[in-house]
Structures are given as structure tokens and as C-alpha cells.
């Protein structure tokens, strides 16, 4: 290909789409046309990309004419329907939904961990993982390369924006309703005062909700199984032991995870810190004596995953305990997808 590849952004008007358009202005510009696509009700709106207003097109077959790479950030059912249609027209689809992640003919890619997998895509589709998986996998992948990973125990602290704009709006509205009152100090008073849970399974303001996603066998949530199954696939470890508990907390943006990782070989705190310091896409921020550990708000709007609280388990010389934060809209969605699209574009150009 001698011309620059053309990019379509499908779901351009969503929360992740907004971050994507921002990143397109900030990162090295390798694209020819950038076409914006969304549901028919958003068609006709103009959004700024690379400093220029671009009109949003309605999602239909013609929207993919002349497109080389399409980034999808839309609900699972929309991806399931439209990604194959785009792929049939020769477009390489980078899909952020869960629709194709576990399809054995679709690679699941985190460029820092398994970039080469993106080249083999029998269906013309490359998937990006769930935002919770993305909060840890660059760091865990670097540790795995050195020590050989055997088990992950994960507890999540997930932000409201994981549910998109409606999640942020609900958290803000709930908080405004009860801020300055003593609500939160009596049994169930949040349920009494907050009539609208928004997209959450219980009031989120001044609370923690141990539920994200849908109910699966054995009492697991779909989000918890995604962390297990996607980690296995990305790392190529089909027998990796993974237990995750996913919890939503009253944070606007950036997911955090507490991770207990067990390896095949012995670890040390200092060596693990060295590996993380050198790992691509990872920032080590770990000096509690100086008050240095990542909190979600420190990480909002930044590209990498931040890691702190690195400790060797006291009772297991092969285990590490870590606390990780990653912007769920950026590395957790928009940035990872764009990195994959750039990989594909490089390949098409090269």
C-alpha cells in the first residue's frame, strides 16, 4: 500500500469514542481518512478529529467503502452483527467488545504482550480485551516472561465509567443527592434515598457494589470470567489458575486491581520492581515511605498501567502482591485498540 490507510471509528460518539478521537490528535498521524461512524441517531453530528470537524455517518455497509482498518467500540450485539460485514469487505476490524474475544479464529491482543498474534486473523477481526484485564496484563505479562505465571487471584476496584457515560452520570447524581448529609451511616439508607441505581446493581455513591456484568454458572459474574479467560488466551496459558472478584466503587475513571500472582520460580521484591520498571506500557510507582503508590485519580488520562505496592508474599517465595491502576477508557479501551490498529496499519503499509 503506497497511500496512507483509511480508518473508521465505529461508536465515535461514545465515552470511549471521545477518548479515541482525542488520541488520534495526539499520536503520530499515520492515517489517511478518518471516518466517524455511529448509530443513525448520531449521524450528521460533527466531531473534531486532528483539528478538523468531521461529520458522523450512520452505520451501514457503505460506511466501510474504502476503509482499511475499522475500530469498533459498540455493544456486543452490534459488533457481532457488523464486524463480519466490514471484514467481508476486506476491512481489518479491531473490536473492543466481548463478541469475538474467545473465538479461536480471532486473536486477542495487547501489543506490549502478544503483538505478533495480531498478524494471524482468519476472520479479519482482531479483538482487544476487557478493561479490567487490561489494567494488569502488561505488568503481569512482563513478570510472566521472567518467572512463569501459574496463578492469579484478583480483586477489582472498578470505576463508574466502566458503564459508559450513564455510569458517570449516575455516580455524580447519586453523590450530589447525598453529599453533605449523614446518609451512609444507617442500614440501607442509601437504598432509601437513592431511587435510581443507574446502570449499577445497587447505589454506588458512598458504597461498593460487588457485581459487574451478567450472572454465569457457579455464581460467577461475566466480568470475572472475562478476566480469567482473556488472561489465559493473551498469555497463552490455557491452564492458568485465575480467581477474580469484581467490585464497582465510587470512582469516576480508572480501574484498580489488587493482584496476588503466583509463579513457577522464586521472586524477589527488588527484581520484580526492576522488571516492572523496564516493562513497556508500565510505570512503577512504588515507594510507600515517600507516600508513592498509584491511586486511580493519579492515573486518569495517562497511557500506561501504573504499579505499586509490590511485595513478595511472606509465606510463599514464588508469589507477589501488587496494586495496579489503569485508565479504563484509555489503555483499558481506546488506547489499546488504537495501538492494535497502528500495528495492523504498519503491516499493511510495510
Amino acid at each position: 500500500m503506497t497511500r496512507r490507510p483509511n480508518l473508521a471509528v465505529v461508536g465515535a460518539t461514545g465515552a470511549v469514542g471521545e477518548v479515541l478521537l482525542g488520541l488520534l490528535s495526539l499520536r503520530q498521524d499515520i492515517w489517511g481518512e478518518v471516518r466517524l461512524v455511529a448509530s443513525p441517531r448520531s449521524a450528521g453530528r460533527k466531531l473534531v478529529v486532528r483539528g478538523e470537524p468531521v461529520e458522523v455517518l450512520a452505520l451501514d455497509e457503505a460506511a466501510f467503502d474504502g476503509v482499511d482498518v475499522a475500530l469498533f467500540d459498540v455493544p456486543d450485539d452490534v459488533s457481532a452483527q457488523w464486524a463480519p460485514i466490514a471484514a467481508a469487505k476486506g476491512v481489518v476490524v479491531v473490536d473492543n467488545s466481548a463478541a469475538f474475544r474467545m473465538d479461536e479464529d480471532v486473536p486477542l491482543v495487547v501489543p506490549e504482550v502478544n503483538a505478533a498474534s495480531a498478524r494471524l486473523r482468519p476472520r479479519g477481526i482482531v479483538a482487544g480485551p476487557n478493561c479490567a484485564t487490561l489494567t494488569m496484563i502488561a505488568a503481569i505479562g512482563a513478570l510472566h516472561a521472567e518467572y512463569g505465571l501459574s496463578e492469579l487471584v484478583v480483586a477489582s476496584y472498578q470505576a463508574a465509567s466502566g458503564e459508559g457515560r450513564s455510569g458517570v452520570d449516575a455516580l455524580r447524581a447519586q453523590t450530589a443527592l447525598v453529599a453533605g448529609t449523614e446518609v451512609g451511616e444507617q442500614t440501607g439508607d442509601l437504598r432509601a434515598v437513592i431511587a435510581d441505581n443507574g446502570p449499577f446493581a445497587a447505589p454506588l455513591a458512598f458504597n461498593a457494589v460487588p457485581w459487574t456484568g451478567s450472572l454465569m454458572d457457579g455464581g460467577w459474574s461475566s466480568e470475572e470470567l472475562k478476566i480469567r479467560n482473556e488472561s489465559r488466551k493473551i498469555l497463552g496459558l490455557s491452564a492458568l489458575r485465575v480467581s477474580a472478584t469484581c467490585v464497582r466503587i465510587p470512582v469516576v475513571r480508572t480501574h484498580a486491581l489488587a493482584v496476588h500472582a503466583v509463579f513457577e520460580r522464586e521472586v524477589t521484591q527488588e527484581h520484580a520492581q526492576e522488571i516492572l520498571r523496564d516493562a513497556p506500557g508500565v510505570v512503577l510507582y512504588d515507594d510507600p515511605a515517600a507516600g508513592e503508590f498509584p491511586t486511580p485519580n493519579d492515573v486518569v488520562g495517562t497511557d500506561p498501567v501504573w504499579v505499586g505496592r509490590v511485595r513478595r508474599a511472606l509465606d510463599d517465595p514464588t508469589a507477589l502482591d501488587l496494586f495496579l491502576c489503569g485508565d479504563n477508557l484509555r489503555k483499558g479501551a481506546a488506547l489499546n485498540a488504537l495501538q492494535i490498529a497502528e500495528l495492523v496499519a504498519g503491516e499493511l503499509s510495510g
Copy 2:
């Protein structure tokens, strides 16, 4: 003893003291005099106990004259100084601080788990555990009795009131400052807007702070080591493997924990749920299909520890994943101490 035993509450004016006085009005009244003791600056205040105003006395030796049992909820250094003075006068001290918990001549007691240990107290002191440990130990103890516990991996979601009144005040003030604004959506803007972290290591409103307590060897926090060492002592398992990561979240009251517990024998979800349903001091609230799982606010002001999200690990038939909530001021502090005091009083009377 033919008369009713006399009780002193040391630290009567604190956040836990307030809950204690409430519980004394609610629970079966087995006490003769209830004497209130606090720092000299609170002396002379009157607080209502069992429906009657009682004057607060300053902490000195004479405050323990005629007292049979003294409940201490004061800072570690105050307990370290005054508990032995009270004990030397024949008073049985029930201490909620960390000063004596790991002393081998001081039993560490959770009545649902190891009530008998309270009888053997060479120093005249019985300790109650840390509030995070108390959030899980009644439930974990019941599972241990059936399956034999070998490992715990714990991630905490701890409430602001774990830092006492100043923690609650700081969270409310920080939230009021930023509620209704878009703060929380830009890198570090909470640190820019919130000048006063209060007792926390970073802004807590719309954030999560992976630090509680003081820095210990290996990057561990004192709170994380308390969970390990206290669980081992209460359960009598000196080689129990424990890894904990302690995180403060913007909740007013009630701690939550995500726990991955590994046992010596195989478990099933249904049997584990049965054990928890029958365990004293535990409420099983676990039907995600019906939206039933505990959130911190559901549990505020209640006595038991609530357990939900009970799952058998998918990759380890000997492991369970759980989400637990316990009111950190009630079972996590005041209630457990009062239960111990009632045990001791029963023994003195009997």
C-alpha cells in the same frame, strides 16, 4: 460474685465508644455500674447509657476502683500504659488496640470462633482483633472448622470511619468540595483541589487509597500484617499462608473484603453456603440472580458479618471466593469487645 459486675468503658467519647454505649442500651443488661472514662479534656461531659446520663471521668488509677471488667478503645500507647495498671488492680481488661494482640500471654478473642481462649489470661488482659480481621474471621472460622484452612488471599475495601471521626469528617468535607464538579476526570486533579487529605495517605473522595497503617518490612503495611498475624493466632494456625492488600475507599462505615480461601479438603458452593447459613454471627446473603449480595451500606449498624458471592474457584476444587461486609464500628470493634466482656462477666458471675 453475687452482685452484678461493674464495667468501665475507657475511650467512651470516641466513635467506637459511642457505638458501645448504644449497644449497652440494646443488649441484655448484665452490668451493675457502667462507668465512663476518657481523656481529661472530656471529663465532666455527660453521656446517656441505659437511658440515664452518666458523667465521664478522667482516666486515672482511681477510675478503676471497684471495676470488674474494663473495655479499652483508645490508641495503642494509651492501652499499653493503662491496661496493665487496671489489670494490676484486679480488673479484667478487654482491649481493642493493637498493643497486646500478639502478646503470647494475652488471648486474642472472637467469641464465635475461640471463646474458650478468653478464660486463660495470665496478664489479666484479653485482646480483640483489628476491624479488618473481624470482617471475615467468624465466617472463615466456620469454614475452617469444616474444611481445614491453608491459605487466605485478602483484598480490603475499608471505610473512612476506620480512622475514627476524623476520617468520616475528612471524607464528607472532601466530597462536598468536589461533588457536582467534573473533578476526578483529569490526572491528579483531586490532589490539586483537595488540600487536606485528613488521616488518609491521599485524597479519598472519588478515589481509592491503597494504604492503611504504617510501613513495615518488605513494603507491607501494618494493617496487612495484622490481618495475617491475627488470623493465625485466632484460628491457632501458626503456618497459615496469608497475603492481604488493604485499600481505603470512599465509604463512610462498614468494611468489605474480597477473600480467596484455600482449604485442605474439597469444597462445594452449596455446602459452603450451608455452613455459612448456620454459622453464629454470620448472615449468608447470596443470590445474585435476585440481586442479593451484601454492599457496605446494607450492613451498617447490624451485628453480624454478611457474606455473599460465594463461589468455588473454577481452577481449584479446594478454594472458595467470597465477598464479606462487616460494620467496622460494631462487630469490627464495639460489639466484639462487648461480647468478650459479657463472656468474662458470665465467668466471674458463674
